[in-house]
Symmetry: C2
Subunit: 459 residues, 2 copies
Amino acid sequence: MSERLVVVGGDATGMSAASQARRRRDADDLEIVAFERGRHVSYSACGIPYWIGGATDGPDALIARTAKEHRARGIDVRLGSEVTTVDADAGRVLVRGPEGREEWTGYDHLVLATGAVPIRPPIPGIDARGVHGVQTLDDGEAVLRGLDGEGIRRAVVVGGGYIGVEMAEAMLRHGLDVTLVDRNPQPMNTLDPDMGRLVRTALEGLGVSVVSGAAVREVLTDREGRARAVATDGGEYPADIVVLGLGVRPATALARAAGLPLGEHGGLLTDRAMRVRGTERIWAGGDCVEVLNLVSGTFKHVPLGTHANKHGRIIGTNIGGGYATFPGVVGTAVSKVCEVEIARTGLKESQACAAGLDFVTAVIESTGRAGYYPDADPMTVKMLAERGTGRLLGVQIVGGQGAAKRVDVGAVALTAGLTVAAMVDLDLGYAPPFSPVWDPVLVAARKAADAVAADVRGR
Amino acid sequence: MSERLVVVGGDATGMSAASQARRRRDADDLEIVAFERGRHVSYSACGIPYWIGGATDGPDALIARTAKEHRARGIDVRLGSEVTTVDADAGRVLVRGPEGREEWTGYDHLVLATGAVPIRPPIPGIDARGVHGVQTLDDGEAVLRGLDGEGIRRAVVVGGGYIGVEMAEAMLRHGLDVTLVDRNPQPMNTLDPDMGRLVRTALEGLGVSVVSGAAVREVLTDREGRARAVATDGGEYPADIVVLGLGVRPATALARAAGLPLGEHGGLLTDRAMRVRGTERIWAGGDCVEVLNLVSGTFKHVPLGTHANKHGRIIGTNIGGGYATFPGVVGTAVSKVCEVEIARTGLKESQACAAGLDFVTAVIESTGRAGYYPDADPMTVKMLAERGTGRLLGVQIVGGQGAAKRVDVGAVALTAGLTVAAMVDLDLGYAPPFSPVWDPVLVAARKAADAVAADVRGR
C-alpha cells in the first residue's frame, strides 16, 4: 500500500528530503506532498546579500529548482500553502491553501522543515517602511525597490554578524554611506573580540562607520511613517534605508503547538537519524532544529544552508528505506566583506569557557601565498587548544584571498580530534601561489603547541 | 665544553636546522658552521619558475635570509665551500674552500642537507648551450639570459611534472611558442591519467603543444653547438631554448661514499627524529632523504620545500636539546598552470595497487563557488577509497580558483584515517563566494561512499 510523505517547508531541507526520498521510492510506493507558504521553493537565502549587492543575478538565479521542476520529478509542491496545525496523534496536518481554505492531509511520514524567522526586536518603528529583513526572495526584491527610491543615501545595518557584514558590503556597492550598528563589543561576534577587531578595521577601511556596543532602541520615522533614523542608547544614526541582520531563531511555533520537544535555543530536538525525539514518523532538519556541536558537547542552533542540505538528504535517505545519520557540527562558518575573508570553526574563548574547557591560545600573522608572490595578502590565524591534552578547540581566520577556506583544515582536525602538535606535521599543499612554505595554519599550530607545552611546564 | 654543529648544504633543511639549534643553544655552547658550495643560502627554489615567468621578482626576493643575516645570528656560513668527504668514524668532514684548498673540520653533530640534483638523461646534446635546468638561482639567471637572446621564439620543455608545467607557463609569459615533451601518457604523472588529461586540455587551451608518450632521445645542436631541436622517438621539435623539468634525485653521493644507509630511491634513511639510521650524531632531511608515505606504508623521495623546512626545524630542535619527530607525509602537492589549479594527496591508482591496496574511485564535477556566484569555475575532484573499509586513499583535483587548497581537507582526512563516508559529514566552510552548498570535496566523498557501499553489496 502506498504511503504519503508530507513536507512542511519547501526550502533546502524539505526539498532535499523530498528529492532524496523520491529517488529511492517510486511514486506508486510513496506519494510526496510539499507545502510551502511562500512563492518559491529551493532557493539560496545565502545568496540574497550578493544579489542585493549586484554581485550575482536574482531572484531566479538563486532558485536551485522551481516548483514546476519538482513537480516534473513527482513531488507535489503546493505553494502559498501554510501548515497551521500538526496533529501528531492522528498523523495529519491542517493546511490553509492559497484561497484561505483549510483542509486536513494525512501523512505516514512528516518532515518539518520550517526554517527560521529573522529576529525583529519589539521596538518602536521596527515595522516602519524602509526597514528590511533579508531572508526571503521577497525581502531581496523589497530592499532593491527601496534602494531605487529617490534620495537614498544613507543605510544603517543593524547587527554585525554574517548577514550584517554581508549587507554592509551590499550597501557599499550601491554607493551608500553605511553605518553598522551592533550591540557587541566588536563586529562578528562569532569570533573572539581580538579577531572581531580586525573585521572592524576592515569595515572601517572600506568606509563603513562601525558603532559597537550599541543596542537599538527605536527606529525613528518621519511624518509619512518612513524610517528616518536608528536610535541607540548612544546616539541616533540617520537612515534612508534600514537593514536588519540580527540573526534568526528557529521557526518552531507549529512544532511547539504540536507538543514536540524543543531545546534551550528553541529548536526541535532530533535523534541522529534526524527523527524528532520521541516520535516515530516525524523528521526535522535545517534551520528549525538544534544540532550537536561536537567540540562543546552541547546543542546549538546553527542555521546554515550546508547543514540544511545534509539534513534533508539524510531524512530522505531514511524515509526512502536507506540509512543515514548526522553526527553533528564543529561550528564552521565562512564569510567575507569585500576582499576580507572571515572564518571560524570550533569554539571561541567564551564558548570554550561555557563548555567547561580550559585552553591556551595562539595568534599568528602570515600571508596567503609565499611572501615574494604577488597578492600575498596578510592573514591572521588564531587557534585555541585544550590545556594539557593540546587538543584543537577552535580556529579563527581573518585575511585576504585564500584565508577563509583554510579553516576547513581546522574543521577536519576538530572532527578527528587532532592535537595542535599533530597539526604541525600536517602535509598541507605548498606552492608559492598558494601558501608560504609554512602554511599559516601550521604556523598557528606550532605556536599553539608551544603554548600548550609552556603551560604544562609552568604548572 | 662547547660542541660543534656542521651543516652540509645551506638551503631549507640546513639553515632551518642551524637556526633552530641556534635559538636553543648559545654560541658558547654550540658552534655552528654551515658549508654551502653555491653562492646563496636559504632560497626558494620553488619560486624560480615564477621569477623566470615574471610573476615575482628575483633573485634577491627569493632569498629568505642571506649568508650575512645568518652570520649576524651566530651561524658561520661558508659559501663556495664543498664538503667532499664525510669521515663518520672520526667525526669530521673534508671541505674544499672557495680557493680550492681542502681542510678537515671536526663535528659533534653533522646535518646532511645536500638536497637533490636535477635528472639529466645521458643523451647526446644534453649539455649544449641553450639547455637549462631550473634548480638554482644561477639556473634562473641563465634561463633569463637565454631568453634575452635574439630570435628566441620556440621553447621546448622536457618533462610534464610540476616543474615542467610551471616552466611551460613561464615560457608562455615570455610570449614563446611552447612545446611540452613528456614520456608519460598524460602530463602531471603524479595524477591518474584521467585527471592528467584535464591538465593536458588546460595546457592546450593556453596554446601549449603537448607531446605525450615521447621519450627524449637527443638534443640536436647547430654548428655553434647551440640546441636547435629536441628529438624524440616520435619526432623532432625545434627549440630556441630547452628547459629540463625531469625531476630530481637525492644528492647522496657524499653519503653513499661515507657508507650511510640509502633507500631504494637513493635517499638517505633516517629514524623519526631525522637521525640517519645507525648513526648517533648524523642527521639528514629535505630533498636528500626518503620519507615514509603514511598511506602506502612505503618510503618515497618527496622533494618539497615544505618537508625540507619541517625536517630542518625538527633536526635543530633535537640538536638543540628538545624533542621533535617527523611522522611522514601523505603525498600532498599543489601547483598551477596559469589559472588552472592542480592538486593531489594520498595515492593515485597505480600507487594504491603497488601498495597492495584495492579501491573504488569516484570522479565528480562541481564549481569552486555557488553556481550563481561570479567566477564559479569548474572543478573536477577524484577520490580513491579502500574497498570494504571505505578509508580514504587519495584525492586529486583539477580546476579553477579555489581548487588546489581544497586538497588539504583530504590531507587531514588521510592523516586521521577517515573513511569517505565520514567525510560526507565534514563541517566545511560554506558561503556562496567560497563554495557551493555542497562543497566539491563533500560531493566526491558522497559518490565515493556510494561506490564503497555498491562494491560491498556486489561482492
